[in-house]
Symmetry: C2
DNA sequence: CGGCAATTTGATATCCATCAATCGGTGTGG
DNA sequence: CCACACCGATTGATGGATATCAAATTGCCG
């Protein structure tokens, strides 16, 4: 069977992001807070570099990481007057900040931009529904497999690696802590550790320090993750 | 695609729904399939009456109910060319069917309609993120408490009961099977049964047959559900 | 009234959480 | 340069919540 052509990784044109072209930048240290839940939702952000996390923390302290944010990602628009989530830097990061009403004006003035924004929202919904399926139906190590492929996917996008078999993609960087991963996957940090061990025992990955793994058997990893059951591969073919 | 909020109680109308004014109706028997995953996504739907479920089923048979759909809800738009979920009737139901390009034209022609649609998408995202928090952080009986309040909320909207303390709201109808509930909450049907028993033992509810419960202690139920940690109450104050 | 399917209930198994050391890297100061 | 301390990660032992397997029971529909 012939190898697939390296697919070009053109991101969908999120043209509304041009509101950030002249926006002020802000540099963040790890752990620094960008958005606190409950604040007035009057700003929107675009990630320039680094990794952030979006969290919801219950009154009893339970925390769910709703999403990690990577370069190019947009965050901040809500249907309500206030944010209902927090956003914090995981790594040193740089973000562009823009008043919400500038986005409103941009979308109101340009149907194409509004259409692009709507399209992004549809993609966001599909991605979250993948997360819902994982949390509801998958086991601990299946969730971790999905997560590793998700990191690999973002590495591929940010480094713009067209070829899925690019050797650089064998190394997956894991910028966040085990606890961040646990709170994203609905697990505890000890379970995340044990799941890493399990994937290593199954010779799918090899741990290289705390913040990197080498993928030994991508096919098995994809199989365990059940990547065929995902919505995203329809959009981002071969990318997971 | 999951439940938007039709807004009988307060919020601005989802004006784009007028595309369904002249749309053909379709009556559904319980279990009847409206959308099959993988089909071309060329139609959109509006629920007129009854309850439907949105599912994703893995290749190994695991099923996640992504959302239930109630009267006024919209479903069918995707970022991809094909649906990545299935939609089936839970109860006898009636839906309005509209070609997707009609929605596209409506949104393209009227910025106000597009704005309304975008707003619905934002509400959808917030609702799904509530589900993510539940699946990731809550216990079985907490999830069930959330679910019962969610059904109560929909009863309130569809029957247009302005007063949160309306005595009719003491009875919650449960149109779907225990298995549907289980697949929505990321549990098994036996666990759902046991969680019902637990809420009953805690004198929060009283089971009245398989498809109805009486709420005995709304405050405790809300407390168990941790309703303060939700995004939705900000939009639909006091409604949960 | 009878039969079937859904639900409930019961007994046991599994997976993940919890609690408790230990390990290992990183940075600091002697 | 090395000893030490610290913090996140790993590993180990145990417990608890939910899944699984297996009856009873309910209630619904003919």
């Amino acid at each position: 069977m012939p190898a697939p052509e390296p697919t070009s990784l053109d991101l969908p044109q999120d043209i509304f992001l041009d509101i950030f072209d002249a926006a002020p930048l802000r540099d963040l240290a790890p752990g620094e807070v960008v958005i606190s839940a409950g604040e007035p939702a009057d700003q929107v952000f675009n990630i320039v570099s680094g990794v952030l996390r979006v969290c919801r923390t219950g009154t009893d302290g339970r925390r769910q990481v709703l999403s990690f944010l990577f370069p190019g990602n947009f965050v901040g628009l809500t249907a309500t007057e206030t944010y209902f989530f927090s956003v914090e830097a995981v790594t040193p990061a740089r973000i562009a900040c823009c008043p919400r009403r500038l986005l409103d004006k941009r979308l109101a003035a340009d149907p194409a931009a509004e259409r692009a924004f709507l399209n992004m929202m549809l993609r966001v919904v599909e991605d979250i529904l993948d997360v819902v399926y994982s949390l509801g139906q998958r086991t601990a190590s299946e969730r971790l497999a999905v997560f590793l492929l998700y990191l690999r996917h973002w590495r591929r996008l940010t480094d713009n690696l067209a070829d899925d078999r690019d050797p650089r993609l064998a190394e997956i960087d894991i910028p966040m802590s085990r606890e961040d991963i646990a709170d994203f996957l609905g697990l505890k940090k000890e379970t995340v550790s044990r799941s890493f061990k399990e994937l290593e025992a199954g010779r799918m990955i090899q741990r290289r320090g705390k913040h990197q793994v080498r993928v030994l058997d991508l096919a098995s990893l994809r199989d365990l993750a059940g990547i065929r059951d995902f919505a995203s591969p329809r959009r981002i073919a071969q990318s997971l």
